[in-house]
């Protein structure tokens, strides 16, 4: 009997061993892993047929004329609003019959008023948005039907629909009162923050896909940089003392790790920035003036594990992409121990994260390619919108019922645009 027990145990051990070999073999030929977030395995869903979007025809002063005035809007990191409009115009989800539409889209480019340096000024954006909403509410009955609950807007600016670049001012203003019921598609995401509404969809900032494509290097180039970062640590122009920019986190990174050979961090602008990212294992993505940054997109495209240093941040498509399994979250208070944290991650976990990053659907979901391809960020936005359907019956208001306060907000916002 003893012998049979040992034989039994031996067989189980062998079986376990054999089963272990199989996934290893699979790993060699297919170095990626399927990604499924809290909403399930939805990255590769096709939104066509699941929703219908009606695009309002606004006069060109809201979109085309603004773009004509400053074509730089097509290349900066807020260009998603323009490309989304173009995508929707020619997409199969578009419907010309507003009666059958599930969602309504208003193409107003609020982030296209640029300074000579190329930074968008948000001072006129609330008025622009308000004027657009007044237009659609008077020309079409669909806004008043739900007070915007089945409408969505793209607000890719620093703090979304709060329309300000400074956090205190943005918090003071809060989300534009007229957008309180609409769905906001924005790049900003931070939990328990005024400027992130319940039910918003977070998208990645726009990064030019062709530019990144041209800087790809052969995949067998060994990754020899441990941690990589290029950018400002102190914003000397706006915050010379430090401690305000990035809540002191970037400065802490610099002060603690500037002479650490594992950390390749500096403020230079090398021409080989993209190539260097492909030779690094970890890429730091700390917050700046706003918690989000295009570094996340670049890190994902180039297969570098993003190290996210921004408390309570909500990353793009958080319900479709399980970011905790892909990136490394570091609290801002733990920045002095960043090297301990990163070196104590077991190698298997690191390899798994790299496999997840290598998944082409992951990379595709972060991009806004022209023309649109399946699985890209446009489709993820539509998937997100489709997941919110069907609309709750309570969004439909009785005729004459008003929920929003049209005169709320600073006096300056009420001026016509």
């Amino acid at each position: 009997m003893e012998i049979w027990r040992w034989v039994f145990i031996g067989i189980i051990f062998l079986a376990d061993f054999i089963v272990k070999i199989e996934p290893f073999k699979l790993g060699r030929s297919q170095p990626t892993e399927r990604i499924s977030g809290s909403a399930g395995d939805v990255l590769e869903d096709d939104p066509v047929g699941r929703l219908k979007v009606f695009v309002y025809e606004l006069p060109s002063k809201y979109n085309k004329k603004i773009l004509q005035k400053d074509p730089r809007c097509l290349n900066h990191m807020f260009a998603a609003e323009i490309y989304m409009h173009r995508f929707l115009l020619s997409s199969p989800v578009r419907t010309l019959n507003p009666e059958e539409a599930d969602w309504f889209y208003t193409p107003v480019y609020t982030t296209c008023d640029l300074t000579p340096n190329g930074l968008p000024l948000p001072f006129k954006s609330p008025r622009m948005m308000r004027s657009a909403i007044q237009l659609i509410s008077s020309n079409w009955p669909y806004w008043n039907r739900t007070e915007g609950a089945d409408h969505f807007f793209l607000v890719p600016h620093d703090f979304g629909a709060c329309f300000h670049y400074q956090e205190e001012k943005a918090i003071e203003r809060g989300i534009l009162p007229m957008l309180q019921r609409a769905t906001l598609v924005q790049t900003f995401g931070q939990r328990n923050h005024v400027c992130l509404k319940e039910g918003s969809i977070t998208i990645p900032p726009y990064a030019p896909p062709q530019k990144m494509q041209t800087h790809l290097i052969p995949e067998k180039t060994p990754r020899s940089i441990f941690v990589y970062f290029r950018g400002l640590f102190y914003d000397v122009g706006n915050d010379p003392e430090g401690g305000y920019y990035a809540r002191g986190a970037r400065a802490a990174v610099w002060e603690n790790f500037k002479d650490n050979p594992l950390f390749d961090i500096s403020t230079e602008h090398p021409t080989t920035y993209y190539e260097d990212m492909q030779r690094a294992v970890f890429c730091l993505c700390p917050l700046g003036w706003a918690p989000w940054s295009p570094r996340l997109v670049e890190a994902v495209i180039f297969g570098c594990i993003p190290v996210i240093i921004a408390d309570d941040i909500v990353l793009p498509f958080a319900d479709a992409i399980p970011w905790e399994e892909i990136g490394v979250y570091v609290d801002e208070k733990d920045v002095p121990n960043l090297d301990t944290i990163l070196t104590s991650i077991p190698p298997e976990v690191i390899l798994r994260k790299q496999r997840l990053l290598a998944n082409p659907s992951m990379k595709q979901a972060m991009l806004f390619p022209q023309p649109a391809q399946s699985g890209d960020a446009f489709h993820q936005v539509l998937n997100g919108l489709a997941r919110k359907l069907p609309h709750d019956k309570s969004v439909y208001l009785k005729p004459g019922e008003r929920v929003l306060n049209w005169t709320a907000g600073p006096v300056g916002d009420l001026k016509p645009w």
């Binding site: 923050h193 401690g243 920019y245 802490a252 050979p261 090297d339």
Partner: protein, 503 residues
């Protein structure tokens, strides 16, 4: 200063709000008549002065301490302006996690109604007490890097790598340590299995054996009875013979892998070893030819160079469809008549038409017996005469596979540098017994050694400049130089003139 400035100057956008919010600034707008205004003005000036001295905004600290509503905040602003201070300062900032409202570290309350643990405002810069790398963690990081790179090699590198069989002919001479160490270190880094066949002219010697023993590689050290002759022609012939002998060893031992020829003075890149794994039977790679040009002024015909720039490369040439079309060989015409004949001639050493090192072959080609060997390979036992290059081993040169993106990548470099035949070196480069001649150093900034040092033997060259081409020039320059020196002693000038004359 307030809203209009905000609209106009974007660069100062961030700091403006702070300045506008502090009540101190109202002093600039208020009238000068009221005493309160005067008081504020004086206070403002005082705070400015203190801030100048300390380097941070003192006023904010005062207001924070006076008006802050948060409890238990110990806040020390970072002294970033003084760089040295910033390094040694241990800064901590305890953020209040008061869930009731967002407590800013600034004297105006926040209007948010949500509970967030993230506080907007100025934070301290956290620096740990010893912000330097920890060696244990550095080692762990390197292990992580190694593991990641191993995984990369598994996924994107060569699948099923074959053993590499390296054939190196060598012999004992001054430059052997230099050359052989270079090759040895390159081979030690190769990530594939390696067998190193070292053929030594003049028989197996302790020198070479001790050198290659340091590598830790699998070596086969074979001696060849002939001594290495002094002329380059003869040397090339002997090396070819030695290589053929090595190929016979591969055949006898039935070694399986890819045979490559690494001459001991060549330089190999790591990509070479990855690239030759792609060979099927017989491959050729481009070799960069590096020739030392001893007579610079006369060696190149300028006009000819401009018409037809010639690359110092030997290797396969492909046509547009990436098929082997011919061979690039090194152009020896510019060097006609000025090439080295003997090993110690200080003239340009030229390669053969096609060097052995530019070819790699599958070791199965050399095995006896049929199997699936192609017909175009000749049996090396049947070869009697000299084989100039491995092309002599095959009957049909068109079957050669061009490697390195069809010969466009130069993956190794050929170089021949040797010392004078009469140059001596300590055996195994160990000075034993120690030399008993000491040379006092004269051209140093240190004060001269005490003059009672025995004027024993000050050997000629030692520390002085090397080749003296135009003797007169150097003599005058040396004496000029010497006359400027402070620590001149008469003996020195005498010795210098003495050996200047000797030259």
């Amino acid at each position: 200063m307030k809203l209009s400035a905000l609209h106009q100057s974007y660069l100062s956008r961030r700091s403006n709000s702070f300045r506008s919010s502090g009540p101190l600034d109202s002093a600039s707008d208020a009238g000068y008549k009221s005493s309160a205004a005067v008081f504020w003005l004086i206070l403002h000036g005082l705070c400015c002065l203190i801030s100048l001295v300390l380097g941070f905004r003192f006023s904010r600290l005062v207001f924070f301490l006076l008006f802050s509503t948060s409890s238990s905040n110990l806040y020390t602003p970072p002294l970033r302006s003084a760089a040295e201070l910033a390094k040694t300062l241990d800064v901590h900032s305890v953020q209040s996690t008061n869930p009731v409202a967002n407590n800013l570290q600034l004297p105006f309350p926040n209007k948010t109604a949500t509970n967030s643990r993230v506080i907007v405002g100025r934070h301290g810069i956290r620096i740990r007490p010893w912000p330097h790398p920890d060696p244990v963690e550095v080692m762990k990081a390197h292990q992580i890097l190694e593991r990641v790179q191993k995984e990369q090699r598994l996924q994107f590198g060569v699948k099923d790598p074959r053993t590499i069989i390296v054939v190196t002919p060598t012999y004992v001479r001054t430059f052997q340590a230099l050359h052989l160490t270079g090759v040895m270190h390159s081979l030690m880094v190769v990530p594939y299995d390696l067998i190193w066949i070292v053929m030594e002219a003049g028989g197996v010697s302790q020198e070479t054996a001790s050198l290659i023993a340091k590598s830790g590689l699998k070596t086969i050290h074979v001696g060849f009875n002939q001594r290495m002759p002094n002329s380059w022609d003869e040397r090339h012939k002997l090396e070819s013979k030695m290589r053929l002998h090595a190929l016979r060893i591969v055949r006898e031992k039935k070694l399986d892998g890819i045979v490559m020829f690494a001459d001991d003075s060549n330089m190999h890149s790591m990509e070479l070893f990855d690239e030759i794994q792609n060979v099927k039977w017989f491959g050729a790679i481009s070799v960069g030819i590096l020739t030392t040009s001893a007579n610079i002024a006369e060696s190149l015909d300028r006009k000819e160079e401009e018409e037809n720039p010639r690359m110092p490369i030997q290797g396969p040439a492909c046509n547009a469809s990436n098929m082997l079309a011919g061979w690039h060989t090194f152009n020896i015409l510019p060097f006609a008549g000025k090439t080295a004949v003997n090993i110690d001639d200080r003239l340009t050493v030229l390669p053969r038409k096609l060097e052995w090192s530019g070819f790699v072959l599958n070791s199965r080609l050399l095995w006896k017996g049929g199997e699936d060997k192609p017909e175009w390979i000749q049996d090396i036992d049947m070869l009697d005469g000299d084989v100039e290059s491995p092309l002599g081993l095959i009957t049909d040169p068109s079957v050669v596979e061009p490697l390195g993106s069809c010969g466009r990548q130069v993956l190794l470099w050929w170089l021949r540098v040797e010392a004078r035949t009469d140059s001596k070196f300590p055996p195994r480069w160990v000075i034993d017994p120690p030399l008993d001649i000491t040379i006092p150093s004269k051209r140093t900034p240190w004060p001269d050694a005490p003059p009672e040092l025995p004027a024993k033997e000050k050997p000629e060259m030692g520390i002085q400049d090397p080749i003296v081409k135009h003797v007169t020039k150097t003599r005058t320059s040396r004496s000029k130089h010497r006359s400027k020196r402070k620590h001149e002693t008469r003996t020195d000038t005498q010795t210098s003139t003495r050996h200047a004359e000797q030259n």
